[in-house]
């Protein structure tokens, strides 16, 4: 795990972002996951996304539960606080932390066991509350740390390393989130950095709960023949439906998009997501139609990927709670206490 510190040596020629930081400044401790683990690619994508967005490292808050995926919060942005909490309960830590200080960027990293089994309830309720956070599921269909049991995202018919077949239907976090009213729902693949990095950026800038379910093969326990979450199977069956390019407010749209192919979505801070449809007839702004199409393709054994649903109008937790712009944790005590005169007035009702 994180007892190995990475040496911080930056070559002078490394590119720097608007804050003058190199990518190295957004890295964390050395990963102790298995060589070739999909999760490490996701860590790299998060690092890249944070660097490219020029986030102040101390403003990045990294939260996780328990499992291989949850270890990864130690592997990126070492300048931000991390909280590796208890199994399946990261969403409540995120909610509390976010309630205390709305001004920071909250990144929750979880796994399919952490989110879809032990943490299913908290996951659902974080969506319902629309906590302003990016929630990444590193989804490999298997329990790695306990050596290869099926998780709740394992497909019917998929085989375990030791040959056992799964007969229970999977819980799909994407469909679940769409049903619960999530306003930013994406699926990606750890092996597709080009797709993943802009999704992370868009998710970080999205107002409210942003979910990215990332298929992330487990090289040790779920990368064999007969598994539907192996690298080979995923590469063959994942279908980019909508590509999202993220364009921060301060940048011009430079890519060459053909008219009619793209759909720009303006975000609350003025940034834009430029959506490029790759799947015939897919509309990532129509919750019901999108959900139908995702399920139809799933039935055919294929995963649609990309920014599958997005909507920018929702109010997040703090809008509903009517909290002030100033974080609650920095309000002066004087703004919180009614004082002795206030107390005297209150006690009048109890005489």
């Amino acid at each position: 795990m994180t007892y190995i510190t990475k040496p911080k040596v930056a070559h002078p020629s490394l590119p720097r972002n608007e804050l003058g930081f190199t990518r190295r400044d957004y890295e964390g401790a050395l990963s102790t996951l298995c060589a070739g683990c999909g999760h490490d690619s996701i860590t790299a994508a998060i690092t890249e996304a944070c660097w490219d967005l020029s986030l102040e490292p101390q403003n990045v808050v990294k939260l996780s539960g328990i499992g291989c995926s949850s270890k990864t919060t130690a592997y990126f942005v070492s300048g931000g606080h991390g909280f590796n909490s208890v199994h399946g309960r990261m969403p409540s830590i995120a909610m509390g932390a976010n309630a205390a200080n709305r001004a920071l960027h909250y990144i929750g990293v979880s796994g399919d066991g952490d989110t879809l089994s032990i943490g299913l309830g908290q996951f659902c309720h974080a969506i319902r509350r629309n906590v302003n956070m990016l929630y990444i599921i590193e989804n490999n269909g298997v329990y790695g740390l306990t050596k290869g049991q099926f998780s709740a995202s394992a497909d019917i018919g998929t085989k375990a390393k030791k040959g056992e077949t799964n007969f229970q239907p999977p819980i799909d976090p994407v469909l679940l989130a769409m049903t619960l009213g999530a306003s930013f729902v994406a699926r990606s693949f750890s092996g597709d950095k080009r797709q993943l990095v802009p999704l992370i950026q868009a998710g970080l800038r999205h107002k409210g709960f942003a979910l990215i379910d990332v298929l992330s093969p487990c090289v040790t326990f779920n990368d064999h023949e007969g598994s539907t979450k192996s690298y080979a199977y995923t590469r063959e069956h994942y279908e980019p439906a909508v590509h999202a390019d993220f364009v921060p407010l301060e940048r011009e749209i430079v890519a060459d998009y053909k008219e009619g192919e793209t759909l720009p979505v303006v975000m609350h801070d003025g940034s834009r997501i430029v959506l490029r449809k790759l799947e015939q007839g897919y509309d990532p702004t129509n919750r019901i139609a999108a959900a139908v199409q995702i399920q139809e393709r799933m039935k055919a054994g294929e995963y649609l990927t990309g920014l599958l649903y997005v909507e920018e109008s929702e109010s997040e937790f703090h809008d509903i709670n009517a909290t002030p712009d100033e974080p609650l944790n920095s309000l002066p005590y004087e703004a919180l206490s009614p004082g002795s005169k206030g107390l005297e007035k209150i006690l009048g009702r109890y005489r």
Binding site: A99, N101, Q122
Partner: protein, 617 residues
């Protein structure tokens, strides 16, 4: 007087108990509050206890009002006047009246067979008939029937009708038409009693001046007020009786004092969680991130929070938890009181854990201990429990006025700001620089140099992950050192050693009122005892000393398994054999007679034996 008469009745002014038996959901609460407040406003100390069912409408409910010139705050165990409004419980209610007492019942339907008791006086009032003749609508008639018995009692006890009118005007300030209809019902009952019975009864009230500088408040309201004054900004909870009113009250106070009138922005976050696991997670997340946060729950909620509590203990994240204890185990009796979470809270969670617990004795202490809990949690960087109970939390207690010192500022403990971190060569979260077992913490969003990784897995004093035996143990031992520091910071026990006796009573929380009264009664039996009320865990040094200097110690508590006594034997050097348990655990608040009887049962045979020995010698 009508019906049977008991003959001689003691004249007891300002010293008697009334019990009112009704059906829940019929509005009797307003009538009972009205009676309580009118006695309180007459300057007479008063106690009120509500025994209610876990139900919304239709089950039996009782309310006990004790008028007590001496200012006792516990049950006496007597029922001098019973108002029997619930036909279903008549038989039981009649039996409960103390000989020489009175029974008031609704004589619209006479029940001579049921009410046969020679040693009490039965007063029949046709409440239903009076209300049916004077009010329209089924609901109104039911509600007014209850107000009407308050009118009957007003005449019998000689309560001031003007005072009652004033109270009604305050309650219904926004619906003045209700003042007239309620007053009409009061008058109906009052006039009937005046015309049919010799009023006032020998048991009645007489104006005093003993409630000035006092309030009538329940512990949950007081605790919530403490949270507001402590500067708590994040409140997360899952509804559970009897703790819910802590949250309701907090929100109510915040809505009145924490909302910007111009913008409507709220200086607090109020989150109803999906369960208690999430509630404590939110509290931990918020306090980790620098806000003061709390939750309120009861025993079942604490059971669910156990895993997170261990995390907060080991990762050293402050949290404040109010446990309003109710009868267990399991769902138990949710609307009855006990002190049955003493052990659960002290050692909550797996692994070696110990938690700071505060034991308030009344609403007044709930207020001050709420504030203290936040200061201790942040100073010690650990969860702090406030163990109240249903009796304190949901009943109105007469308390001294709450006071506030405007010089108070929250003790945030050892928190490094940006400047302080920048001065360090390197920041280490769990390093014991000061030798008190407490490290320094930083909040997210301040400086990358202060960033650290919080985890419930093994970690070193430098904040890194470890599976190294030595490093693991260094940290675990340091937590013990912190525990020693806690002993110096927690509220000390309250000790009354004026008797200079070698017999002591030791107790916690809401037993206080009954013990004080019991000690007065014991004096009349020539038994003088010392008394120590423990107010916190870990136990301060004075606890050890009191136990050591008394030969026989009665440990009074409200659970079956003597949990507090067990904690004393585990955590002090006391000799187990000299601790005698007096255990009250039927769900009702402990009474003074229970303690007196328990003490005498132990001491009398000893005295007799001693005298016998002396005579033989």
């Amino acid at each position: 007087m009508s019906m049977s008469s008991s003959g001689a009745v003691d004249k007891r002014v300002n010293d008697f108990a009334i019990k009112i038996a009704t059906v829940n959901g019929t509005g009797s609460a307003s009538a009972n509050t009205l009676l309580m407040k009118s006695i309180f406003r007459s300057g007479i100390p008063v106690m009120g206890k509500n025994y209610f069912p876990s139900n919304i409408q239709g089950l039996p409910t009782w309310y006990e009002i004790r008028v007590t010139k001496d200012g006792y705050v516990a049950r006496s165990g007597r029922v001098d006047i019973m108002v029997a409004m619930n036909a279903e419980t008549y038989a039981k209610d009649v039996k409960e009246v103390t000989p020489g007492g009175f029974l008031i019942y609704d004589s619209t339907w006479p029940r001579p067979a049921l009410l046969k008791r020679e040693d009490i006086t039965v007063l029949g009032v046709p409440l239903a008939r009076l209300c049916n003749e004077n009010f329209n609508g089924v609901r109104t008639r039911i509600l007014m029937k209850n107000i009407c018995y308050a009118g009957v009692l007003a005449a019998l006890l000689d309560l001031d009708l003007e005072l009652i009118r004033k109270l009604l005007a305050e309650t219904y300030a926004k619906k003045p038409q209700l003042v007239d209809s309620n007053m009409k019902a009061i008058q109906l009952g009052h006039d009937f009693a005046r015309q049919n019975f010799p009023c006032p009864l020998p048991l009645h009230v007489q104006r005093m001046d003993k409630t000035a500088g006092h309030i009538l408040i329940d512990g949950n309201t007081a605790a919530a007020l403490g949270c507001v004054f402590a500067g708590a900004t994040v409140a997360a909870w899952y509804p559970i009786t009897p703790s819910t009113s802590v949250m309701d009250a907090y929100k109510g106070f915040c809505d009145r004092t924490r909302v910007d009138p111009q913008t409507g922005k709220k200086n607090f976050a109020f989150i109803q969680a999906e369960d208690e696991l999430a509630a404590i997670g939110m509290v931990i997340g918020a306090m980790w991130n620098g806000a003061r946060a709390f939750t309120a729950t009861s025993g079942p909620g604490i059971s669910l929070m156990n895993e997170f509590l261990g995390l907060a203990y080991y990762a050293e994240v402050p949290a404040v938890i109010f446990d309003i204890q109710r009868v267990g185990p399991s769902t138990g009796m949710p609307t009855r009181t006990q002190q049955c979470d003493v052990m659960e809270c002290a050692y909550a969670s797996h692994g070696d854990t110990r938690h700071v617990c505060l034991y308030p004795a009344n609403p007044e202490e709930c207020f001050y201990m709420a504030v203290q809990a936040f200061d201790l949690a942040e100073r010690l960087q650990t969860p702090v429990f406030v163990l109240s109970d249903l009796d304190i939390g949901m009943n109105d207690w007469m308390c001294r006025d709450l006071k506030w010192d405007d010089n108070y500022r929250p003790d945030r403990g050892k928190v490094l700001d940006k400047e302080a971190v920048e001065k360090l060569e390197k920041f280490y979260r769990y390093l014991d620089k000061d030798g008190d077992g407490i490290g320094y913490r930083t909040f997210p969003g301040v400086t990358p140099k202060g960033a650290y990784f919080t985890r419930g897995s093994g970690h070193t004093q430098y904040g890194t992950y470890t599976e190294d035996s030595v490093e693991y143990q260094i940290l675990l031992d340091r937590l013990l050192k912190k525990w020693d520091t806690a002993k110096k910071l927690v509220p000390r026990a309250v000790i009354d050693a004026t008797a200079g006796s070698d017999i002591g009573i030791v107790s916690i929380g809401s037993c206080e009122g009954a013990i004080h009264e019991a000690m007065d009664i014991l004096k009349t039996h020539d038994v003088a005892v010392d008394y120590m009320r423990v107010r916190s865990f870990p136990f301060s040094e004075d606890v050890e000393r009191f136990l050591a200097t008394h030969k026989l110690v009665f440990v009074v508590e409200q659970n079956r398994d003597a949990q507090f006594r067990a904690l004393l034997t585990l955590e002090t050097a006391v000799e187990k054999a000299k601790l005698r348990s007096l255990l009250h655990y039927n769900g009702l608040p402990i009474s003074s007679t229970f303690i007196v009887d328990g003490v005498l049962a132990e001491i009398r045979p000893r005295d007799l034996a001693r005298r016998k020995d002396a005579a033989a010698g």
